[in-house]
């Protein structure tokens, strides 16, 4: 999980902010209900967004539920009407596949940590796999495709991003209605492409030092380990093209009471994160918040 799919909270109404928080808490609660306490640590913003992509119509009534991070107070959280359970299943699957990926190319301490985490989530993975067989198969197929492309030092941004984007697109299979499914698929594909390329941009200095695969190292000619001004613009343009495609799909989703949140994330959240990553302020801001 990347934590790149975020709303611009300062542009959300008070009510929408509360709903976003309630969805995040709802996902955390759903992870615990379905997979036990440990799974709570897998809660993430990307799958919170998935909830908003999949949930249409009237907003559900929030419930009060206990929060382990704040033991003496209860939080508002959305009840699981199907979408949150699905997002919880997918959170487990994605986390496990991400850990497996880390096993492959991380440094030794990272590999050990990934191995331990995998052991910890073995049971949860088995359960999630049984529930979402099709998604798990697609994850496995696309990640091995991605690994093959990485091993071959693929110089095409599109092809490398395609494997990951196709993986995220499978999250639309929750949709039964064909039009809504197609719109969700296109939306998630381009959000996946955004994630992959934003991640590549952020990791570029690190990958350049360690010599790891990064599509930007092969697509562009780096100058002193950095992208030239022109190449940087080409990259930003192509990622913005994906945000535009995601927006065009968003406008064709069935109406929802949470349209404000959906639109905020695509129209304001993603561009803000992209530009934060590009000028190096994204993580700094996050670290600032944690202190």
């Amino acid at each position: 999980m990347f934590g790149y799919v975020l709303p611009r909270k300062d542009l959300l109404s008070e009510q929408a902010r509360a709903r976003y928080r309630a969805a995040y808490c709802g996902l955390c609660h759903s992870l615990k209900e379905n997979y036990g306490f440990r799974a709570r640590f897998l809660v993430n913003y990307d799958m919170t967004f998935l909830y908003f992509v999949l949930h249409d119509g009237a907003a559900a009534q929030t419930e009060r539920c206990a929060c382990p991070a704040r033991p003496f107070c209860k939080k508002d959280c959305l009840p699981d009407e199907g979408e949150l359970g699905f997002a919880a299943d997918l959170s487990v699957l994605l986390s496990v596949w991400k850990l497996r990926d880390a096993l492959r190319d991380g440094r030794l301490p990272h590999r050990l940590a990934a191995k331990c985490a995998l052991l910890l989530y073995r049971g949860a993975y088995r359960k999630a796999k049984a529930r979402q067989k099709e998604a798990d198969e697609v994850f496995e197929r696309q990640l091995s495709r991605l690994q093959a492309l990485e091993d071959a030092h693929c110089a095409s941004l599109d092809r490398a991003a395609d494997a990951f984007a196709s993986l995220l697109r499978v999250c639309a299979l929750y949709r039964r209605d064909e039009s809504a499914r197609r719109a969700s698929e296109l939306l998630l594909y381009h959000v996946g492409r955004f994630l992959y390329l934003a991640d590549a941009l952020e990791d570029l200095p690190k990958d350049e030092r360690s010599g790891s695969y990064n599509p930007l190292r092969y697509r562009f000619t780096l100058q002193d380990g950095k992208l030239s001004q022109e190449d940087r613009q080409t990259l930003l343009d192509t990622v913005e093209a994906s945000i535009s495609m995601a927006a065009s799909a968003l406008e064709l989703l069935p109406a929802s009471d949470d349209d404000e949140i959906r639109k905020n994330i695509i129209y304001y959240g993603l561009p803000a994160v992209l530009h934060g990553v590009a000028n190096g302020t994204f993580r700094k801001k996050k670290r600032g918040k944690k202190q």
């Binding site: 599109d158 913005e240 093209a241």
Partner: protein, 189 residues
């Protein structure tokens, strides 16, 4: 048929002006030009039809201006026409192998290569091909429109909209601090 007021997103009993404004905004959003080369073009077209019907019903026969695409796609017949037809049917792989079989690499050839890439979501490759097509035939509106869309300057541009990164860093830090305080303050809500 759906409630026309709901389709246009206006309250029952809205004035003619309000209806016209809502219609114009929606028609701009779902205009075929915005969905050129987009795999969801058919869905946008359906939506446009629904909006037109709702407008017609509310305006009692005053028929909606038809915002058809301002260019006609499929400028050429022959092999390129067939490639376009395959793309229209969503048979992208077939379209690609047919295009690969064409020896004339003119502006339209590069344009269609771009369309195929775009239909797959491969925006970098699409932009590169559209750029070649525009260089070869700078007057063509269709190619220029596609090139803009593939480089993030398309219909759903949010460039003009406020990013927030244009604000000064001090302001961002202030926001961050306020958010921290907010988290602490609303612990028990």
């Amino acid at each position: 048929m759906k409630d026309p007021y709901e389709v246009l997103g206006v309250p029952h009993g809205a004035s003619e002006e309000e209806i016209k404004k809502a219609y114009r905004d929606l028609a701009r959003k779902y205009h075929p030009d915005n969905y050129a080369n987009n795999p969801l073009a058919d869905l946008a077209q359906e939506k446009m039809k629904e909006i037109n019907e709702a407008y017609d019903t509310l305006m009692k026969g005053g028929s909606a201006p038809n915002p058809s695409s301002s260019y006609s796609s499929g400028s050429s017949g022959g092999a390129f026409g067939q490639v376009r037809e395959l793309i229209r049917q969503g048979r992208i792989d077939a379209a690609e192998s047919m295009l690969d079989g064409i020896a004339t690499h003119n502006a339209e050839w590069y344009y269609l290569r771009g369309v195929i890439a775009q239909r797959r979501g491969w925006m970098d490759e699409a932009a590169q091909n559209f750029r070649i097509a525009v260089n070869m035939d700078p007057q063509n509106y269709e190619y220029r429109n596609a090139a803009n869309a593939a480089s993030g300057a398309g219909a759903y541009t949010y460039r003009q909209q406020e990013y927030g990164n244009s604000q000064s860093d001090d302001l961002c830090n202030l926001c961050g601090t306020m958010m921290c305080l907010n988290c602490l303050c609303d612990c028990c809500r």
